[in-house]
């Protein structure tokens, strides 16, 4: 949001550097059930982002003092792998990843039927294998599929995507260059059945009109992402049973 470039991010025809229009998201690939140990898992690619999510639980809550006698808690850990960005990222949690983990946990707690599992913890691990702007949205999109894959009862499957602003244009799903040199970034996640917002952040500079437009783009795109999430789960569970398999 702070960098400067002479690069033209949106040309006079409204075309972006990766050939997309203002209202197009990057290609999205979602796969459910990709790991064997985890109770549920998912792999998501959004453009050059590559993200894995795994779910363990409901299981005993550690640390114990976080236990809630009336419901389960959702504990998400978002982690960027050392080689996921151009400079090596120092391993371990930093302030950014702690904040992202917190808001993703809170977003997921809104949809998981936590009241079914008093004192338990539902642990969600998001690993960013490759980052190219929009990893928190890709991570949350993957985490929701992993929760469904783990068979955890939910009110909805949460999709997430960002909208933003670059070269003065409101754009859907910013790529790295647009994120670095643009003027605003608005990641959001919704419950598709009601359009309620479960995750919202914003930084940059936007007028009310620009912001309203960004939200409209992102909410519409969230519905597309949601269709892909459902599709991934259907592919996972509509496989014909093979002989000798479990």
């Amino acid at each position: 949001m702070s960098g400067h470039t002479d690069m033209v991010l949106v040309d006079e025809n409204g075309m972006r550097i990766d050939g997309r229009t203002e209202e197009q998201h990057r290609p999205i690939k979602i796969e459910a059930g990709v790991l064997s140990n985890a109770d549920g898992s998912a792999y998501v690619e959004i453009g050059k982002n590559k993200v894995l999510a795994a779910v363990y639980g409901p299981r005993e809550c550690h640390p114990r003092h976080l236990q809630n006698p009336t419901k389960a808690i959702v504990q998400c850990k978002y982690n960027m792998q050392a080689f996921s960005v151009s400079d090596r990222k120092r391993p371990g949690p930093d302030r950014r990843s702690i904040e992202i983990s917190k808001i993703i946990s809170e977003a997921l707690e809104r949809v998981v039927l936590t009241e079914l599992y008093p004192r338990a913890s539902i642990d969600v691990y998001i690993e960013i294998l490759q980052a190219n702007a929009g990893t928190r949205c890709a991570g949350l999109t993957a985490a929701s599929v992993a929760l469904a894959d783990a068979g955890i009862p939910m009110r909805d499957i949460v999709p997430a995507i960002a909208a933003g602003k670059a070269d003065g244009h409101v754009l859907l799903d910013l790529n790295k260059e647009e994120d670095n040199y643009g003027q605003a970034d608005v990641p959001i996640a919704i419950m598709p059945s009601t359009d309620e917002i479960v995750l919202l952040q914003m930084d940059g500079n936007m007028t009310r009109e620009e912001f309203d437009h960004a939200i409209e783009l992102a909410v519409n795109a969230c519905h597309e992402v949601h269709d892909l999430q459902v599709d991934a789960l259907k592919r996972r569970y509509s496989k014909p049973a093979q002989e000798g398999s479990e």
């Binding site: 702690i98 904040e99 608005v186 309620e196 917002i197 479960v198 995750l199 919202l200 914003m202 309203d212």
Partner: protein, 257 residues
């Protein structure tokens, strides 16, 4: 912030009041508590402010020291915001390194200041590529009765506005005021039941679900947002938050001058 159990009778009392558009302390749903600001209260800091927002109290101090710029921004000063929820401020706060609540608080305040361009970091260059002023804002909660986000934002902004670059101390020329361009103001609301209330106190926060914060600049553009808390907000509720953030932000900006 904390996780204490509240009696049902108190919860019901607050909910019943809200159903009539009232609150425990007599405020209306969009009323902000009284704001009191004392600036330059710490002589050892280069800028400071102690802010009371009702019974919530926060202190922020600024330290400005020469340092090496980041490699990708060789001519631009450095701005860092930190926050600590110290045990003195509330029985549920624990000592030790900042936890996720303190980190979120600091990062939301930081985003408002950074994205609004409040501090003109390009003017903080001493020797291009070699030396720049590094500006550290540290925020401590002293007394917690809800809405640390807005109290911390006010304290940080007032401290920065009062800050002087201590150039003489380091033999870098004359002392000058920190170059400040605007006044970012955050407005935080919480959702209790289906009502969004501005500037929540501790009890209101305890029974709330979603917690949207919206930061605006002097012309009413949006500079930072964060939806905290476990609940959700509808698109209509978001729209209401945006309207209120512009309106209340302008009022608060007048109060702190």
């Amino acid at each position: 912030m904390s996780n204490e159990i509240m009696s049902e009778i108190k919860r019901d009392h607050i909910m019943n009041l809200l159903a009539d558009g009232k609150r425990q302390d007599g405020r209306g749903i969009t009323d902000v508590r009284e704001i009191k600001v004392e600036t330059n209260c710490i002589e050892s800091a280069d800028g400071s402010a102690r802010v009371k927002l009702g019974k919530t109290e926060v202190i922020a101090g600024v330290k400005i020291i020469p340092g090496t710029p980041f490699g990708d921004t060789p001519n631009i000063g450095v701005l860092t915001t930190g926050a600590e929820l110290i045990p003195m401020a509330h029985p549920t706060f624990e000592s030790g390194p900042p936890g996720e609540d303190a980190i979120e608080l600091a990062r939301v305040v930081d985003r408002g200041i950074r994205e609004s361009g409040m501090v003109d970091v390009e003017k903080l260059c001493i020797v291009p590529g070699e030396e720049v002023w590094m500006c550290f804002v540290d925020i401590y909660a002293l007394d917690y009765d809800g809405n640390l986000f807005d109290a911390a934002n006010l304290a940080a902004v007032c401290a920065l506005k009062s800050a002087i670059i201590p150039a003489e101390q380091y033999g870098k020329g004359e002392n000058t005021p920190l170059p400040v361009t605007c006044t970012p103001i955050s407005v935080t609301e919480v959702k209790v039941g289906n009502t969004l209330i501005v500037d929540p106190d501790y009890d209101e926060e305890q029974i709330s679900s979603a917690r949207p914060t919206v930061t605006t600049d002097d012309v009413g553009n949006f500079r930072a947002m964060q939806k905290g808390g476990r609940g959700s907000i509808t698109l209509d509720e978001l729209s209401l938050c945006l309207d209120r953030a512009v309106e209340i932000g302008a009022e608060s900006r007048k109060i702190i001058g």
